[in-house]
Point group: C2
Chain length 342, copies 2
């Protein structure tokens, strides 16, 4: 059973997308799951009334017993400086939701709001697992094979070799717990498969990873391997990179799918809906949420442009993270290991 706080005010399409996403999630999640909608209670209540009227009344009534509104008068703006949000908006939906997680009232927090503020507030309020210097954002890339966990995709732009090693360690735990992959294979994103290829941090990280006991390290993987979910040496489960390159590739990927769809549609006269269906598992919003990895808790970062469907999926990712005790596993494992990382 999970009780999840959702930042009802976060995201470009809030509160409509967030409230609608919560209702969708409750219709798919098991009955014991409860969602707290955190934000301006009058706004949330009005949206809830609108979305549960008329034809949706019957299923909505069932869901409403599992939805609670938690008032938070302030809102962190999408472009606001994280430090400002932390210092001056203790009663924002972001901070109220995370505080309820830190206090143990809820077991997870989900937001499509200001990512930098969510990272900073999660680090301060939930704290980091032992041996970590920064949290990371992991996301699942659909590939020609099985989905691959890529981290970091935006939390850390200038990464040391040691940070890349941290990403590998938490990625392995995540892949086991959330993806059910036994003994996950890790690849290091680079520009050639040979250990000597890459920038300075990657070359050093390759050596550190190759020397790490117990790690199933495949070596360097290239951009084409990431699309395929495998290199010539076989499939992999986790790909490690700095947050700059990870974020660029992620956003490129997001934009490619609709582009490709429109190109095929335009040149062949194929039915657009059929193509959308064919490409649905390429759509980032289908996955909904990227967990902030390394914090002592579950903080799911959603895309600012999240649809109700993306919010629903983010809530499902949160529920799964709680059930699999992801945060405890990461914390325990990283605490038990000798700290290879300063």
């Amino acid at each position: 059973m999970a009780r999840i706080a959702l930042d009802a005010m976060g995201g470009d399409f809030a509160p409509r997308a967030t409230v609608a996403g919560a209702l969708l999630a409750l219709s798919e999640l098991a009955d014991e799951h409860v969602i707290e909608l955190v934000g301006r209670s009058d706004v949330i209540q009005a949206m809830l009334d609108e979305l549960t009227s008329g034809e949706h009344a019957a299923s909505a009534a069932a869901a409403r017993g599992r939805i609670h509104i938690v008032d938070a008068p302030d809102v962190v703006e999408m472009s606001e400086k994280p430090t400002n949000a932390l210092r001056n908006k203790p009663n924002s939906s972001m901070l109220v939701g995370l505080r309820r997680h830190a206090e143990g009232v809820v077991q997870a927090f989900v937001s499509a709001g200001n990512t930098g503020a969510q990272m900073a507030a999660s680090t301060v309020m939930l704290r980091l697992a032992p041996g970590l210097t920064r949290p990371a954002i992991g996301t699942l890339f659909p590939t020609a094979g099985q989905p691959v966990l890529v981290l970091d995709v935006g939390a850390n732009v200038d990464c040391s070799a040691e940070e890349l090693v941290q990403f590998a360690r938490i990625g392995v735990v995540y892949a086991e717990d959330m993806l059910g992959r036994p003994s996950p294979v890790v690849g290091l994103l680079s520009i050639g498969e040979e250990a000597g290829k890459g920038n300075a941090a990657v070359k050093e990280a390759n050596q550190l990873l190759a020397a790490m006991p117990g790690l199933n390290f495949q070596g360097n993987v290239e951009g084409r391997d990431l699309a395929n979910g495998a290199s010539d040496r076989g499939p992999f489960d986790v790909v490690v990179c700095d947050g700059f390159v990870g974020n660029v590739v992620l956003k490129f990927y997001e934009a490619m799918a609709p582009l490709v769809i429109s190109m095929v549609g335009a040149s062949t006269g194929m039915d657009r809906a059929a193509l959308d269906a064919a490409f649905r598992h390429l759509d980032y919003s289908e996955h909904g949420g990227a967990p902030l990895l390394g914090v002592r808790g579950v903080s799911i970062i959603s895309h600012g442009k999240s649809s109700p469907r993306a919010i629903m999926n983010a809530l499902k990712v949160a529920a799964r993270a709680v059930e699999s005790r992801l945060a405890e596993h990461v914390t325990r494992r990283l605490g038990a290991e000798p700290e290879a990382v300063a």
Copy 2:
């Protein structure tokens, strides 16, 4: 009129792909263009005989007057260290071809062989334009709009802000000369459109580029903008990035097109050939060659897996570079400008 040296031994499918590509190119290039096939003359002659026999005899006879074989007994291996190739293989097809360019016998050199060796040998034998510290590899990305020149895509993995600025300067000249874009718009690849977003080198480069007189700098662009060929602020012609991220995105892109084709084909039962046709302009090999920018000459770097069609296109890129006097323009412009770059 251009006389072009082709490294007949370079690439995974040489010499068949290179010789076949040269024959294809001659059938499309104007009559005054001549191609030198540089490599083991007996091997090249045998391949030429094979490819111009039977049904192709008539058109081949016309082409053969414009093909010359230049003997070079050594071959630089694909995995060989560039320094080794430079020092120990002066009679390789790579070095013989570039030497003929340096001596003015040919006006361009094309190779699908060892990229690192080609870069190093081009730098040493052709020399760099004023104010440059490294050459860059530029390549055209097909986008939802017009193709965009991306540089660097692999020549420089750890780039300073000053090197990123150099890429912008040579990218502008290239976009004007080779793409015919008046007053090209430049974007800096980053993880957010705001000037303060990015890694340390990108943040500093943003400031340097914004302060550069005469440069049509749009600011930061994101991965999704690269796929679209435009940001919210409009289309752009040149995208600047370090060679690590550029190479990762390029290779990811290359692998995406066939992946997407197979996905659509599998789920809709559409004709594979029709899909291939629809996606042809997404195919990197269509573009064939990436010019090594910043050297005082025309050195075209082709993909190791180049098909005859890709080689043909690389030769056409070389011919166009010679006709537009790309190298002279870059050298003159960079020499005439105040050297903002140390």
